[in-house]
């Protein structure tokens, strides 16, 4: 089973923001998506989930196994933590997403899938740590039962340990047969868990680099922009990288 995005463009009255982006994703696979700020990564995530902002017009094709993707085929875990309703306990929110997709609510199961204890269902968002909130957002996306998950900046604002836990959860989701797109500025983390990384710049596709291309200082990367992005990552974090001192 594959999710294919072909020649996807999104325009606003003021002009196009995404132009001719294509990518594909198999079940069980993680594909990374990165690029400079304002490249259109979050807009691509919203387009995949069918939740574009008012005034946006989409062209191009999103298909699952060659058929146009229906509503709810792709679930989105948004970037903003305040996407969790501040006035509802986490368990109730997970239930809402399940019911929207006509599924039985199973907050404990969804929480267990993202490594959170069942007791987290009773907590309100302001009672969660940043890492727990990120995983709770992932749980809301999982509750929809979608086979394809887009996680928008799931590690932003987290320390290395909490970010690592979220990435492990994403790897587990892929291992359980879901296709996962991870949007992140953390190219090192993406190279670690994704099979391929799609690079965007100014709303256009730059290249799709296999994870292996980031080894040995990124010399195998095709595009100069991708190499620049890779070089801009903290040296100590890069595999094979060395500290300046």
């Amino acid at each position: 089973m594959t999710l294919d995005v072909e020649d996807l463009s999104v325009s606003f009255p003021a002009g196009p923001v995404l132009e001719g982006v294509s990518l594909s994703l198999a079940r069980g696979e993680i594909v990374g998506l990165t690029g400079s700020s304002g490249a259109g990564k979050s807009l691509l995530a919203e387009a995949l989930a069918g939740a574009l902002p008012p005034g946006a017009v989409r062209t191009g094709r999103i298909a699952v196994d060659g058929e146009p993707a229906g509503p709810g085929a792709v679930a989105l875990a948004p970037q903003r933590l305040d996407a969790l309703d501040p006035l509802a306990p986490v368990g109730r929110q997970i239930g809402r997403f399940a019911r929207l997709c006509n599924r039985r609510a199973d907050p404990s199961g969804a929480l267990a899938s993202v490594g959170l204890p069942a007791g987290a269902a009773r907590l309100y968002p302001h009672e969660l740590s940043g890492g727990m909130a990120r995983r709770a957002l992932l749980a809301t996306a999982l509750a929809t039962g979608a086979d394809w998950i887009v996680a928008d900046e799931p590690t932003v604002g987290l320390d290395e340990e909490a970010g690592g836990r979220v990435l492990s959860v994403l790897a587990r989701l892929a291992a359980s047969g879901r296709g996962v797109i991870v949007i992140s500025h953390d190219l090192v983390g993406l190279a670690r868990i994704a099979s391929r990384v799609v690079i965007l710049r100014g709303g256009r596709h730059v290249e799709t680099a296999p994870a292996g291309a980031f080894a040995q200082g990124g010399t195998a990367l095709r595009e100069a922009f991708t190499r620049q992005l890779w070089q801009a990552q903290p040296a100590l974090a890069r595999p094979g990288g060395e500290a300046a001192c």
Binding site: P78, R80, D85, L87, A88, Y124, T144
Partner: protein, 327 residues
Amino acid sequence: MNAWLPALVAGRLLRLAWLLPLAATGLFVLISMAPIDPVQAYVGGRTSQIGPEQREAIAAAWGLDRPAPERFASWLGRLVQGDLGRSITFNAPVLQVIAARLPASLALVGSAFALSFVLGTLLGLVAGATRGRWPDRVIRTIAVVLAASPGFWIAILLVALFAVGLGWLPACCAAPPGRLDSEVALADRWRHMVLPVVTLSVVGLAPLVLHTRQSLIAFLDGPAARHLAAHGARPLHLAFGPGLRHAAGVALTLHLAGAGELFGGSVLAEAVFAWPGLGQATVRAATGADAPLLMGIGLATLLFVFAGNLLADIAARLADPRLRRAA
């Protein structure tokens, strides 16, 4: 889990402990400065029959011949013992006048409170969920027209239309005049309540509709609603589902905090509809310079507003758990 509740109530009661004497002093000063002479108000048209000695005797009987601070100290002393004094206009203990008239006022204010809350929240939710479309435009127009209409004018319109013109509803009193309390059927009581309750509810409706609409729109435009909408939730579902707590919580808090305005509005509604409640008694006490009754009603109103504000604080914390930490 609800540890915030006793702390909140204790804090507010402490505030009431200094608010009550302060309010009583303020009330007494205001009433003492009123340009109405209670003896003259009592004597009324019989001025020629009552001489200066009799006037002095009346003033002495009411304690008006003593200096104001002394009168206040003696009133305060009796208040501590639970005695609010004796009403001049009703010729009965103040406590008894208030106890007899409070149920009628509470029935009026309570019914108006419930009706305007249900109607205002419902209309606000529909307006917010259909933003920019015709239901929203119709509801907003009605709310703005109501906000700009004085309560007494609405009352007169309602009386002219439903009581005088169509003859469907009575324009006066809590029961048909001339009948004993035991002879009045429940349906009759309900019919007499309709116009005063509707008048009083309409006065507080507009702000409720507009606040509920705005709170819902703030939620619908926020990331939490967008996350739900991305997975298929429609505006009406969001409004009456997750959005309800966002919009109705704020509405209930505002509505409870505005209980004082509702009580103030009831003075007007009771005067127009000759409703035998505290509002009507307030008007009579004010025109008759009935200081003990005015003081009693003033303190009862303070307690009513205090209870409204306390309930508003509790409602806000029940609706939004983030506020509980600050309690």
